[in-house]
Structure formats: C-alpha cells, structure tokens
Amino acid sequence: MKFYVIEPASLTEAVDILSQAKDIILMAGGTDLLVKVKQGRLKPGRVLSLRQIQGLERVEYVPGRGLFIGPMATHAQVAAHPEVICRFSALAEACSAVGSPQIRNVGTVAGNLANASPAADTAGALLALEAQLMLMGPQGSRRVALADFLLGPGKTCLGQGELIAQIFAPEPQLSTFSTYLKLGRRKAMEIAVCSVALASTSAGNGWSNVQLALGAVGPTTLLSKQAGNVLEGQVWSEQVSILAGKSAASECQPVDDQRASASYRRAMVEVMVKRAISRLEFLKG
C-alpha cells in the first residue's frame, strides 16, 4: 500500500495540518496503525508522523510535581527510567509487559492510550496512577483525566485535529506503592486476558488513596470504584482481599472471545486483584 507521510517540525504545525484535513492520520511508533493499514482496516491518504519533532521522546521526572511523558516516548524508554521504576512501578511493569523488545522499542505510551484498546497495558497502570493527558488541538490546549479520555474500544475524547501532547502522572504521596499484573496465555507478544493495576498509599496499618484499574474486562480499561472502596482505609486482611476481588469481579464487564470466556475473565479478575493486593503488601515490606 502507498500513502504520503508528512513530517512536521513542531506540534503546533502538526495540529494545524491535522485540523485542516480529515484523511490524515497521526502516527507515533506505528505499531498499531501500520497493522491496521496492512490489514486494509484503515486506508489513510496521508500519515502525519511525529518522528521529526525534537524532544517528544522525553521522559522527565520533576520532584514534587510528577512524571512527564512525551508523545514519542517508547515503552522501552519508560520501562528503563530509574524514577519510573522506583516511583511509578506499575507503569514500568506495564511498559515491560508490552509485546516484545521490538515492539517496546518503537511503540509509544501515547499511542497505546490513543489506540484505546481495552487491553492496552499502560492504560491500567496510568489510571491507577491518576494520570492526566495534555491535549493540544485547534482550539488550544486542555487537560483531561485519563479516566475521561477513554470512552470505548478504539474511542477517546480526542476531537478532530487534537493530539496527546503530554502524559502526566502526579507525584505519588510518600509511601505509595503500585503494581501492574497481566495475565495472558504466553509470556510475550500477548494481549492480556485480564490485567490489574493497583496503587495505594500505606497509612499506618491500613491503606489509603486506593486506585484499582482493570484491563481487558470491559469496553475500556476501567477504574473499579467498588473494589477500591472495599480496600480504602482498611487493613488488607485476607478477608478484605477476598472481598475486594469479588467486588472487582462483579464490577467488570468482560465478553467472550477466542482468547477467553467472559466467566474465566471474571474469575481471573478476582485472582489477579488478590495477587495485586499481596504484591503491594510485599512491596511495603
């Protein structure tokens, strides 16, 4: 297949071009996009690549503020970033769980979010880390919570000509721990059967500010509010953990497909939530 590639020099220029024509599709690493093009599911007239724009691959941690991820930062870069590993471990784990080394070397976190697959690995981790997205569009810039960005399978709140200019995860409070667990049928190159991301702050004996996200068990990666409430402010006894697992399992909305049945997915949510809980307990030490 043939298409023209446009390589603007700045994000502003990119937004300008994107908002002028409807047949232009934005490309970051291309690992989702080019597969769709090759399968004939997308027939772009033109593709706008962000490749030539300087500095978009930046991953920066600013103490006291948080983590800033540029739209061209790859999974490999994020996964290897020391501050991400130690302060945003769910994200580092999620990025390491993506595909294979080749995919992690070109696929971006922004592309993963914009592609809006319910199984996207970084979406769960970033939901649990309460990430926000800086969007840039013809009407200017706006900031949205990731939870409001993801609308359905392949659907986001991005308007015509709008793009993700930056991903931001706020500095976690002291003693915050997070983890991302992915269940698949093989150890690499795998679309999650279900995934769980959990972030929480250890407070005294209990845990507060609980954020629990579930992947591949609903139309979007979703925050499990009910299960979060079960865990919030509690000492995570075995009983609480079981309750949280059951609550998450009842809250999720999995479907049957060739990868797993809905009932298996639901059961696995329960298992993975319990494992995420013990992992956080373990990290706390």
């Binding site: 269940l183 150890k187 690499a188 190159m189 060739q258 049945s261 298992v271």
Partner: protein
C-alpha cells in the same frame, strides 16, 4: 566411530547468510517485469457458487488477468488423491477455498480487484464433525470421489482413506482380561508455524514450458504433480528453489503454483504470489484434528493383553495435500509396547474444515497424546509407577513390532531409563503444584529415494550435487560432512550445490525424517564412486592395478609406496579426465528398525489461573549415530517447543466451519520466554539404516511432548484432560468441577 568430520558439529555454512540477510528466499528473486497474484477466498464453509461476476475487476486499471474455475481445465490435483481443484468449480467446501484469482501490477491493485469480484453463493449444510460425516445418510462432500485419481474404493460416506490392522483375537482377550479401560481423546488443528509463508513465482511465456520459483521442500514431487496437472512434460518444468524459511511438514504439498501458472498464462507475464499470515492460518494445510478411542485389556499385574483403537482424522475439505490420506500416525496406537491382541481401525474423513496436511510426524502427536495419557491411566489403575508400568510392557530386542514388523536393535528400555535416570524421577518435587510426567514414543527412520553426484574439482575440492532441500534443518551441512568423510577431505573443501530440478538429480524431498538416511546414503555412494574413479586414474598413472591403490585423506598410494594427491591425479589425466563425477542412488522402502524417544516434562500448575508452566523437559532420543550432534539437539529442542505449543495453547478452531483464529496475535505459538529448559540425551549405538548407522531426528521428538506434559499436569494437580490444548481455562474449569464434586 573414527572420523575427522562425523560426530562433530561444525558451524553451518548457511548460518551467516541467514543472519546477515544475504541468503536468498523466493521473494528475494526479482524479474524485470512481474505481476502480483492474489486469490479471492470463500467466506462460506460450504456453498454452491451460483455465479461469479469479474467484469468490474477486469476493468480496474492495472489488472492484467482475472480467472475463475470456469476458465481452467476441469482437472484436480493432489499428492495422492487428486481431489483439489485449482480454483473452486461450482462448489466451495471450506472457508478460505480459492474461488477466483487476479494478476495485477502490484499487490494493492490485485487486492482492490478482488473486492470488485461479485460471487453469488447459495449456502449448503455444513459438516464439521467427522464422526457424523461418516454416518450413513450424511451428505457427500465429494459425490464424484470415485472418479478422482488415486481415490481408494471405499463405501463409507465422506471417508477419504481407511485402514485396519490387527493381530490375535481382541474380543477373546478382552473377555479374559482382568481389567478393561476405554478412553476417547481429541486433538485440535494446529499450524506448522514456519516463518516464511508459501510463496511462488511462475514464468511461462509460451505455456508449453514453465519456470517455477517455489519454497516447496519437495521440488521434484512438485514438478511431477504440476506436470500431470498442467499437461506438460516434467522436462518442460524447471523448479528453482532457493532457501526455505522453515517447513515442519507444511511445504511439501502443491499450494499456489498452479493458480500462479494460469495467471501467468492469462496475463502473458510472470506472476508472483505470496500468502499472507492470515491466508496461512486460513488455507494452508495444518495438522489433522483427531478423535482417538483406545480400549485396553490388562492383567492386574499391569501386563497389557489387548488393545482396540479407533482413530478418526478430520481431513477437512480435501485430502490431496497428504501422501497418504490416512496419515501414518494411526499405526502408532499401540505405542512402544508388546500387545498380543490388537485391532486398529483408522479413518480420514472429509468435513467442511481446512484441508489438513503434513505436519512434523503426521498423526503421531495426536495418537501418542492418546496412547501415553491412556498408558498413565492404566498404570495408575494397577497401582504402578508410570515408569514401572512401561518397563513391564515395553518392547525388547527380538520382539515383533506392534504391527508385526521385525525391528532390529530395539533399545526402548535403554532410552526410557536414560530419560528417567537424568530426571530425578523419584526425587521430591520442587513445590506443591509441581508435577512430572513422562511419555515414550516410537517413529521409524524415513524411507524414500534419492540420487546424488559428488564432483571432484581439479584443485582437490569437491561438490555435492543433490536435489535435497534444506528447510532450515542443516541437512546440507550433514550431507557435506558425509561426503567429506568418504573423500577424506576437510569439510571446508566440500561444497553443496542444488537449487534447481533441471540440474540437480532427483530427491524425494526433505520430509518424513529421511534426508540423513536416504540422501545421506546416496551422497555416500556417490563419494565412494568418485573415489573409485580416482583410483582408476591413479592406477593408470602409477602403472599398477586399481586394486593396489589405497586412498586416504586425498592421497592415492600404491603398495609400492608411490603416491599422488588428488590434484595431481586430476591434473595428469588429460582434459576429459580432469572431471570426476561420482554417482550414487539409494532407495529404501521398508523400515527395518525404529527410533524411540522418551521424555519427562516438569511442570508447575497455577491452581487459581490454571496456567501451566513447563519448566524442564528431559529427553532421550535413539539416534543410532549423530552425524552432527548439535544439529540433532537443535531438532530435539525445536520439537519440544513445538510440541509444547500443541500441548498447551495452539489451536485453529472452526465452530460451524467458521475460523476463529486468523492472526498470530491469537494463534498462540510459544515464544522464547515460554520455552522450557531442554536437556537432551542422545542414545547412540543401536544401528539405523543411515550412513554409519545413523537413524533420524527431524520428527522423532515431537510426539512425546504433549502426553508428557498432560501426565505432568495430572501429577501436579490431579486433573486429567482428554482434549488438547490444555489451556489454562480448561484446567481451571476441571479443578473447579472437582472441587464442586467435593473431590
């Protein structure tokens, strides 16, 4: 054995080219002008074609030809039963069947043209269950079956092949047996998983001859079948075969070559065709699904007395991709055991599924999953350790093979004990949910025919010319090693040449675990012939009789102590004598021995998710003599990982004939992270038919893997599944059911 080059593992000559990209594959070959061909495939598992309108597609700029079944001679092709049309005629029998084809200036235009072809289908009832398809009154998928070339005379509906074997009197034996057990096992369709998809290119300006580039691994068989189908003399067809990017049995059948030829004729231009991964998963020739029922009678002490087996292979819509419609695995239902009373009935049945074909040890992994799972159940029933049960029943030297063959050098017990001894079988397991399982299998060294040439060059080097392909197995290196040994030359001085059916002598093709044996013997004979021709020349030059000449390490010497090296002999022999071409031909059509494999798998089962992790596989293989031990181990490791994929995750389900898995995202081939540690022990010494006593390894390791894993899962968590693959979901379900039952 004493040799400078046999039993060692030199680096393969092709390795560097494959890593650097220099190695040429079919799609690297470019002609100045070449069209791209693509086929339109049926979206229905079974339908009548009421009409095809190609008008719009023809008019698309860039389209050179559009053809349908109506444009082609009404002929069918197949490696045995010629049941496959080049393009469907009036009826489609599986989702993915070729209905029309287009040649265009590029792949995009060809794809666009396919979208413009209108086909009117009238859906027909779909047959998916081979057992139901065999029942009397079932609609016939091939009403004209009896008119197909090589079709056997059979009168069971939809059966493409069947066979029955037996010894003794099973009924009487069952009546006498203290214990009788019967189990039914099911296995799924899996793809061979080669990296390079089927690809071909055809040039045929006049139509009365054709040059065909193909990655078929049996180019001479391909040529013969194309000659029959296209009505050309074999001498008018030249098949050129560059490197082959993996095969595992899947590249021995005719694929797109005929349709590509007809597109070349219709367009008057060379045409290239490459299957996409989707097409590979949809319409190549994957492994047969099977339903296997085993009934065994035994004494309380564990002695096997009788076995009855019924094996039904799902052939899919066509059987023509197989050299025998009833794949050979059916003969393995007795395992490697002594069973006096037996009865085997095997069937291969047409359904509206993908046409099944050869896949590494056709039939064996299916049948041995059943046999070796069943064996463990029997062992447990008589309270014997699985190893002990096998020890009591295993074939020993002097026993007649289960099908009445006289095998020499039966070392099954030694192979079994080698695996057991190296596995810590009786030691405590690593954790609560760890399990160990074993399996013992048997498969003979491959048979067939091959001719080879060994040419001695005037500088003292040599070239092996053979028609054997090397689909990644290292066979060219092994063949060079054999020639180097016979010629007493360093391996670097022996090259390999082939690649073209017009120039290389006949070879049966790299399948059926035959190359080291069959082609190897042909090369060995050719090298010996070259040496004896050299002796004649040397004798004349040294003025002694040929019998006085001794040849060693490139030097001819007479008993009087005079000697000449190879270069000198050739240099002194005048123009005609400067070339020595040794010839060797070899045919083997009867298996006088077999190769045993024993494997022990160690797994860990996650009882909450049902996931199985295979941690270590200990494997012992009866190899006779390993010409190239690292290559042998490479084959073993490959079979373990491929067998594990079959055991745990790979499947191509088609409920109601509709394919569910059409991408590699969903076809769960194991990755390197999933691969277990493999410890390989080569058991040498029981001589095979190959050069220097070599047996085979290409397919021998694969069948033991799934049952070893299934038995290990049982050992770990007490769950016995009768249906592959052993997915996490199925295992968890079984665990839950057991809990629900209070067990």
């Amino acid at each position: 054995m004493e040799s400078h080059v046999i039993g060692i593992s030199p680096a393969r000559k092709d390795a560097w080219g494959k890593v650097s990209g220099e190695a040429l594959y079919v799609n690297d070959v470019k002609l100045p002008v070449c069209l791209e061909g693509k086929v339109l495939r049926s979206p229905y598992p079974h339908a009548r074609i009421a009409g095809i309108d190609v008008g719009k597609a023809m008019k698309l700029p860039g389209v050179a030809a559009v053809i349908t079944g109506q444009d082609l001679p009404a002929k069918r092709f197949g490696n045995s039963i010629a049941d496959q049309p080049v393009l469907a005629r009036r009826r489609v029998r599986f989702v993915g069947e070729r209905v029309a084809a287009v040649a265009a200036v590029d792949a995009d235009t060809a794809a666009e043209a396919l979208e413009l072809i209108k086909v009117e289908y009238e859906e027909l009832p779909v047959l998916t269950d081979p057992v139901l398809a065999m029942e009397s009154g079932a609609p016939l998928l091939h009403p004209k079956f009896s008119t197909y070339r090589n079709a056997p005379a059979l009168d069971i509906p939809n059966v493409a092949g069947s066979a029955s074997y037996g010894t003794g009197d099973v009924e009487a034996a069952f009546a006498q047996a203290e214990l009788v057990f019967e189990h039914t096992f099911r296995t799924q369709v899996v793809h061979q998983g080669y990296l390079e998809p089927h690809a071909c290119m055809v040039q045929s300006a006049s139509g009365d001859s054709a040059t065909i580039w193909s990655n078929n691994k049996s180019p001479f068989e391909l040529r013969a079948e194309l000659a029959r189908l296209l009505g050309l003399p074999a001498s008018g067809i030249e098949v050129i075969y560059p490197f082959i990017g993996g095969d595992f049995g899947g590249k021995g059948a005719v694929m797109d070559e005929p349709v590509c030829y007809y597109l070349a004729l219709a367009s008057g231009s060379p045409v290239r065709m490459t299957m996409s991964v989707r097409e590979e998963l949809l319409a190549a020739n994957p492994r047969h699904a099977a339903i296997i029922t085993l009934k065994s009678g035994l004494r309380k002490d564990g002695t096997l007395l009788a076995r009855q087996a019924r094996v039904v292979f799902d052939s899919g819509a066509y059987a023509g991709a197989n050299s025998h419609p009833l794949v050979a695995g059916v003969r393995r239902v007795l395992g490697a055991y002594r069973i006096p009373h037996t009865r085997i009935d095997g069937f291969s049945v047409y359904t509206n599924s993908v046409p099944a074909g050869h896949c590494r040890a056709p039939g064996d992994p299916q049948v041995f999953f059943a046999v070796e799972s069943h064996t463990d159940i029997l062992a447990q029933a008589v309270c014997l350790d699985p190893v002990e049960f096998r020890r009591r029943n295993v074939l020993l030297e002097g026993h007649i093979s289960p099908l009445g063959l006289e095998w020499s050098g039966i070392n099954a017990l030694q192979v079994l004990e080698t695996a057991v001894m190296n596995s810590g079988w009786n030691q405590p397991k690593a954790s609560r949910f760890a399990g160990r399982g074993m399996a013992l299998t048997e498969r003979n060294t491959g048979l067939g025919g091959s001719s080879a040439l060994v040419t001695l060059q005037s500088d003292g080097s040599a070239t092996v010319v053979s028609g054997a392909t090397d689909p990644g197995t290292g066979s060219h290196t092994v063949l060079r090693q054999i020639a180097a040994h016979e010629l007493g030359l360093p391996l670097e001085k022996v090259s390999f040449s082939g690649g073209n059916t017009g120039m290389a002598p006949f070879d049966n093709g790299s399948g059926s675990s035959r190359v080291t044996h069959v082609t190897g013997q042909a090369v060995r004979l050719a090298a010996q012939d070259a040496v004896s021709q050299g002796k004649d020349l040397a004798a004349a030059q040294l003025q002694v009789s040929t019998t006085e000449i001794i040849y060693q390490d490139g030097i001819f010497s007479s008993s009087a102590g005079k000697s000449l090296c190879l270069q000198e002999v050739l240099a002194r022999s005048g123009r005609a004598g400067k070339v020595i071409t040794g010839r060797g031909s070899y045919v083997a059509d009867k298996a006088g021995s077999t190769c045993f494999s024993a494997q022990i798998a160690e797994v860990e089962v996650d009882p909450e998710t049902g996931q199985v992790t295979v941690q270590r596989v200990i494997t012992a293989n009866d190899i006779g003599l390993a010409v190239n031990p690292e290559t042998v181990k490479g084959q073993v490791e490959g079979t373990v990982v491929q067998g594990m994929g079959f055991a745990l995750n790979e499947e191509l389900p088609r409920p109601e004939g509709l394919p569910q898995v059409t991408s590699l995202a969903d076809y769960k081939l194991a990755t390197c992270l999933d691969a277990p540690t493999v410890q390989t022990f080569l058991v040498e010494g029981s001589s095979g038919p190959g050069p220097y006593g070599a047996k085979s390894i290409g397919e021998q390791g694969i069948a033991a893997v799934a049952p070893a894993i299934a038995n290990a899962v049982y050992d770990a968590v007490g769950v016995r599944l009768f249906e592959l693959p052993l997915t996490a979901e199925k295992i968890r379900h079984a665990l839950q059911q057991r809990e629900g039952a209070g067990g």
